[in-house]
């Protein structure tokens, strides 16, 4: 990439970040809630993108991990714990459960693995609903406090949105670092050819477990923020449909692309809101839009961009080849 292209990308990134900070200042309560939800869901989808998009391990349980994080954070903060500490527990618990859920992936893959994670998702939902001594059962947990971060109260919508945005920024940097590191390369090797990866010294067991654990931990982070965002949780939002929503965010945005979850979550969270004016039809229109997108580009929105860039590279390469060929002919 040329230096110009790099500056252009940097500038575009800064504009987007500035817009995310400045524009919502004029938003009402509802707008800020939706935007905060986008940030939280992006974090969860980034986790799934790591497990599925980069490491190629199918999971239908990401929603359950959001639930695990949300319950951990709700239970602890209502007991008077500060949110950062509760978030820490959310991360540790979902990391540990995610690690355990990785073990089946060492034996089964693809749709078989999807079924194993589906079973886990159902199990988690039943625990949220039935273990009422811990989770409040179907009545859920209410009056979840919003935290004070460095002395700033975040109980108003705007500061809490900034808390979500800041968390998203931190998670993004961490994930960016991870996928650029040799770990990221090893994850992609798992996805593309585990047999070959093994013969090159890649400890596929450990990396598979790590891919599940880290992806799940990010689900836990999202849940840990979701609880104070809604300030009330019950089991319903964490059923299978959240896992499927998150899966759709990853696929629609572009599985295995860093920015895929940002776009995917935007479409899954914001598009239904924009389509609300169509009243009863919005879910149908939304479904049709997603189907059309995936027919046009099975690799998601960023897949379109990727295809465009690949096309350009191929054209450049054939141009070079044509030049080389004409030279060859003049030599003859």
């Amino acid at each position: 990439m040329s230096a110009n292209g790099r500056y252009l990308r940097l500038a575009a990134g800064l504009v987007v970040i500035a817009a995310l900070i400045v524009i919502p200042m004029n938003f009402n309560r509802y707008g800020l809630f939706i935007l905060s939800q986008w940030a939280v869901m992006t974090i969860a989808a980034m986790g799934l993108n790591l497990t599925l998009g980069y490491a190629g391990q199918v999971s239908l349980a990401q929603g359950a991990f959001v639930g695990v994080g949300a319950y951990a954070s709700a239970i602890l903060t209502t007991q008077g714990w500060p949110l950062p500490a509760a978030l820490g527990v959310s991360v540790v618990v979902s990391f540990a459960i995610g690690w355990l859920l990785g073990y089946p992936a060492l034996r089964v893959q693809h749709h078989y693995l999807a079924f194993v994670t589906l079973a886990f998702s159902t199990l988690a939902f039943l625990v949220f609903r039935n273990e009422s001594w811990l989770t409040g059962g179907i009545y859920g947990i209410s009056n979840i406090p919003r935290p004070h971060i460095f002395g700033f109260a975040t109980n108003k919508p705007l500061p809490f949105y900034y808390l979500c945005l800041g968390s998203l920024a931190i998670v993004s940097l961490a994930v960016w670092w991870l996928i650029r590191s040799p770990w990221g390369r090893a994850f992609m090797a798992l996805r593309e050819n585990p047999l070959r990866a093994q013969s090159l010294g890649v400890d596929t067991r450990r990396y598979t477990l790590m891919a599940f654990a880290i992806g799940s931990a990010l689900g836990g982070v999202a849940g840990g923020l979701y609880a104070p965002l809604t300030q009330y949780i019950d089991p319903l939002p964490f059923n299978l449909s959240l896992s499927l929503d998150l899966l759709m965010m990853v696929i629609v945005g572009g599985s295995g692309f860093f920015f895929g979850p940002f776009l995917g979550a935007m479409i899954a969270v914001l598009l239904p809101e924009w389509l609300r004016f169509t009243q009863g039809y919005y879910l149908m229109l939304y479904a049709v839009a997603v189907i059309l997108l995936l027919i046009w580009s099975p690799t998601g929105i960023l897949g379109i961009l990727d295809r465009f860039l690949a096309n350009r590279r191929t054209k450049a390469a054939s141009a070079l080849r044509a030049v080389a060929k004409s030279r060859l002919e003049t030599v003859q």
Binding site: S181, P182, R185, A186, M188, A189, S199, V202
Partner: protein, 247 residues
Amino acid sequence: MTAVLEVTNIKKRFGGITAVDGVSFDVREGEILGLIGPNGCGKSTLFNCILGQLTPSDGEVKVDGRAVTGMRPSDLNRLGVSRTFQLLQVFPKLSVRENLILAGQEHQGNMMSRLFGRSDAGLTEAANQMIGFFKLEHLATAQAGGLSYGQQKLLDAAMAFMGGPRLVLLDEPAGGVNPSMLADLKERLVAINRERNATFVVIEHNMEFVMSLCSRVMVMAEGRVLAMGRPDEVRANPAVIDAYLGR
């Protein structure tokens, strides 16, 4: 000469079929051993048993005198044993350079240093050298999946050398490679064999390639060793001519 690889009485049964039936041989340091035989005679299964992709039903494998039977492929690789596969095995979505860095990264540092250290694990220079060595410079940043078959075969072989292995098992490196590229490949293999004192075992059906590259040749038929010796001895062996080379 010391043996880098000692294989003793390896057997592998799949249900009622005995694919490898009591094979013993050793590979001396620095040699290139050819392994030939008809399709289905157990060559690749033998490789898989040696390298941990399959667990042998019986027998023992030693590398540098150390028993490694049934060891996981990734652990064995970090001990300096590397391989290529019969079918193409590159990582198609990664660039040529990334493929090579991946092939070497697990030999650098530990899990933690690979997470927090440099993103190329300090291997860009080594990868570039390997790219130059296999004459793939113009393709360094191209996606491996977009390379021609022969180029991918070269990359596949180059990847096997990134960890600086002592012993490399190559499964049909010449299959589907055009003659001029084949000459290149042979020259590269001989150079690595001499310069790095790497020991090779090569499965191959291209007789010209095997006979000119290898110092010794082992012939397998129906899961057993039929003959072992210098290329000219093997070529003249009536049993080998009957079972494999043809009259």
